[in-house]
Symmetry: C2
Subunit: 171 residues, 2 copies
């Protein structure tokens, strides 16, 4: 299955000079979507993953079926004000401005083996925030998994020493 | 599997007087999460569903694995400005203020059999907007499926004559 054939490149989105990698054609192709989740599941099967976590919204699309495939919990990481129970927040800087993510305080615990998932790795800013939201719990982060990795933006290096796994790479 | 046992009720969220039904304990319980997706899949198996669509963000959590279970396409319906390709938008009124949802113009087509999914049915405002985003394509809407239905808010009536299916009901 050539996943790359189902990813559409859209110039100048969301702003001039950005080549956006659009996964909606992949999601529209049942075999390609299934294959992407299966390939992630095969890579992490048998490693005792207890918890798959992802930031909203695109991350949920791959992380939720992956949690089911791995018999793991699914933890949603959300924008501020969306989670109803006690939350921890992490505030992080972006190229222009800043953002926050929140997680329920009871989501992670010592002894958990957490796989963090997103559709795309760019600079690693969002995923780095997810990592910081897991840390206080004492849970172990097994790896960060992505469908797409934009290697030129060096997110892999930003997330080191945590393992990064991706299905499709673009320079 | 008693799904209700894994749904947490949180008073006064997001505002005073609202009893929020929190699905994160269900997502945290691998068997309960898997059962909820399996029960939705069993209900719609063999009915020729070609496309499962959901509005961000919680809807994705159930709709994405359901699309995989039904060998169907997954279509994300999103807040404005999130989808990179040509979009259609639908603007709708809420109790306080208004909101918009968008979908890619190539997402639905005549001949498609669409299952719309969300975690929770309240008044049906968000799901009604999803219905309106499918209509111009000429695709057939098979049903709207939910994990939770708040029956007192009469969303089922608001969506009629489209079929509504839900796994757990609260008055």
């Amino acid at each position: 299955m050539d996943l790359r054939a189902h990813i559409r490149s859209i110039p100048d989105f969301p702003s001039a000079g950005i080549l956006f990698r659009d996964i909606t054609p992949l999601l529209a192709h049942p075999d390609a979507f299934k294959a992407s989740v299966s390939l992630l599941a095969e890579r992490f099967a048998g490693q005792g993953v207890t918890t798959v976590a992802a930031a909203e919204a695109r991350g949920f699309i791959f992380a939720a079926p992956l949690a089911i495939a791995l018999d793991a919990s699914f933890v949603p990481i959300r924008k501020p004000g969306k989670l109803p129970f006690d939350t921890d927040a992490f505030h992080y800087e972006l190229e222009y401005g800043s953002d926050s993510l929140e997680v329920h305080r009871d989501a992670f615990h010592r002894g958990a083996r957490v796989l963090l998932v997103d559709d795309l790795l760019a600079t690693g800013g969002t995923m780095g925030a997810c990592v910081e939201l897991v840390r206080p719990s004492g849970a172990e982060i097994l790896a960060c998994a992505f469908v797409i990795e934009l290697t030129g933006l060096r997110g892999r290096e930003a997330l080191a020493p945590i393992e990064v796994f991706s299905l499709v790479q673009y320079a």
